[in-house]
């Protein structure tokens, strides 16, 4: 999906209160700037709208609707482990000859988990458990609104620099349970964290928070072992689908002997091929993770 071509100058012209803006990243649909707004750092996100976009009809534009959902979720979520909406609400504009939408989020000073794992290697068991508990808080918060995130992965989790833990970002794919199954149009890297039911094009399978539990299970597996349970750089999309839906990964402790059996059991249960094999309540997962800490 094409991304908007935005400069600091464009941003300052669009939002005069912005003192500075530096590009810090881009996802599948958005570019993200660290900007200073009223002397506070914020994350400012921009997405490209179509050339034919008409502000009069923004309530039927899919990109706008998706951003509306994302910002609404951020507004309603109360978990400290779910990113919050920033001071600049959702708006659309035409800048640098492009139709764009933008909104702000709280700026998280820290590092994406993806980078943490790349730079530091597998995490200690206590950190894995802590990561799991913090993400449980975010998943529970979303589920209390009847939503599922659908894109939990190391690239969407930030570790705060102040040591207070982990924050889940990017609710752009979050949907209520009636949302359509979506695996078309995503990179293999993103699909590597999808649950088996996210590949179900027939929509016969229930989609609920247990789908997020699977994605979190993949993330915890990777955090604990440094290896993805289903994906390697040579994995093709069809092979990935087959591995996620059929292959039972080796226990994490077989790759990292420091991992206790109790954590093995929790992660493998999160990776159950069907929702009914995973945890039925988020509290059950929380308790199981807490027990891993207790027995150590």
């Amino acid at each position: 999906m094409p991304l908007p071509n935005i400069t600091e100058g464009d941003i300052k012209a669009l939002i005069p209160e912005i003192k500075s803006a530096a590009l810090i990243g881009h996802g599948g649909q958005k570019v993200v700037f660290r900007a200073i707004y009223n002397d506070q750092p914020i994350a400012l996100k921009f997405a490209l709208l179509s050339d034919t976009f008409n502000p009069e009809n923004e309530d039927i534009d899919e990109t706008v609707l998706r951003a509306q959902r994302e910002t609404q979720i951020m507004q309603e979520c109360t978990s400290p482990h779910m990113v919050k909406l920033g001071p600049i609400g959702l708006a659309t504009a035409c800048t640098a000859d492009q139709n764009v939408l933008y909104f702000s989020e709280e700026f998280i000073d820290g590092q994406a988990l993806k980078e943490v794992l790349k730079n530091e290697g597998p995490m200690q068991t206590d950190d894995v458990v802590r990561l799991g508990l913090h993400m449980c808080s975010a998943i529970a918060d979303l589920w209390s609104l009847g939503k599922i995130h659908r894109d939990i992965k190391p690239g969407n989790i930030m570790r705060r620099a102040d040591g207070t833990g982990y924050v889940l970002l990017d609710a752009g794919l979050a949907f209520d349970v009636a949302g359509e199954s979506i695996s078309a149009g995503f990179s293999v890297g993103t699909m590597a964290y999808f649950s088996p039911e996210q590949f179900d094009y027939t929509n016969r399978r229930t989609m609920d928070f247990r789908s997020d539990i699977f994605s979190l299970g993949v993330t915890l597996y990777e955090a604990a072992t440094g290896q993805h349970p289903f994906f390697s750089p040579t994995t093709s999309a069809p092979h990935l689908f087959s591995k996620i839906t059929k292959h039972n990964p080796a226990p994490p402790s077989s790759l990292n002997a420091a991992i206790p059996v109790a954590l093995d059991n929790v992660i493998l249960r999160m990776l159950g091929k069907s929702p009914h094999l995973r945890y039925r309540r988020i509290d059950q997962l929380r308790e199981a993770l807490a027990q891993v800490q207790e027995v150590r």
């Binding site: 016969r204 399978r205 229930t206 609920d208 039972n248 069907s274 009914h276 094999l277 039925r280 059950q284």
Partner: protein
Amino acid sequence: MAMFVQHGHGKSDKIDAALDSGSIDGVIFGARNEKIENIESCVETVREKGGQVFLDPQFHVSAIIPANDRFLPDYPYYKVGRTSADFIGVKKISGHVKATLDYELTLSVDRLLSPTVIFDSFESKWCQTALNLADASLDYHASIKNAPPLLLSFVIGEQALESRIELDAFLDQVTSWEAMSGAYIIFSREDSSYSQRFESERLANALYLTYVLGSINGLEVINGFTDFCGLLFRSVGSTAFASGWSQSLRQFHKRSFTKQKPGGKLPRLRYTSTPLLNSILLSELQLIYENGALDAVLSGVPFDEVIVDADSPESSDWNARSSELQHWESLKTIEEHIGEDVSKNLSVIEKRIVAAQELYLMLTNEGVVFGPQSGSEHLEQWSEAIGTFREIASL
């Protein structure tokens, strides 16, 4: 963990005797076979003896046409000849749920059993109706203060168990109900003749269903209308199973609830042999005795004395009552040793199956001929089913 009596027609003093001997832990009363004016005292009697009590409202009979419903029309929630139109809309579903659970609440039962309908496919409209009734039961139960825990009832035709994909979707749905605390599961058998046979693929999926609900999701699961198969269900995670005194109370069949022409023959006397994992005819036990192998097939329970103390099985005072009570005693001796480790439980059962197969072979070689309902065919099916189950459950 427990074993219950599945109550039906003609209870006489069997329940009291079984409770007194400790071979059962409680009773699931069937509303169809007990007069409404007697049910309260029946419940109280069991409670006084320390047994657990449940009332199966047998609501499902209302959708069977023509129904053999005996005393059910006297129960306030029951109406004969309900069709699919009677289950369209939230108001109607809620009305059925309220009427059924309200009646159960008038009795001193340990668990409420939700109303349900029978279905033969997980994709059928009747399955959807059963799910709607279960969902509405959870909602209504949540609104009742100090109510006993609720078990969601499902009467599942064994044909439905042929599709793993549909079963998986059903289990995804059921386990998504966070308020659910347990289930009362009955497998409706396709073949109405009594035996321990259960097609292996279907049995494997029945075990998987029980395992997912009981062992994986930690729900209370009671398997109703079972026999020796109840031991398999207990082994994979059910909390309890219920078995009755007659063959129609040991395996559920729609035929039992459908009006039939009068007639039929009295059941022949049987002896329950735990070494054979089967109930065999008294005449077959006599043949075994004549071949000098009686000790090898005895269950080793108190009621065996009736046979052991006599000159021969057929000359003993063995009667319907002793056969029924000995059946529960025998199942209980196995049930009470079942633990929480599913894989270990199955290993124990697998050893029993192998031993039973060897015993059957030895007896057959000695010239003992078993009838079609008493033979060893079920053992191979169970063995295959456990193998398949272990594979799908990764155990």
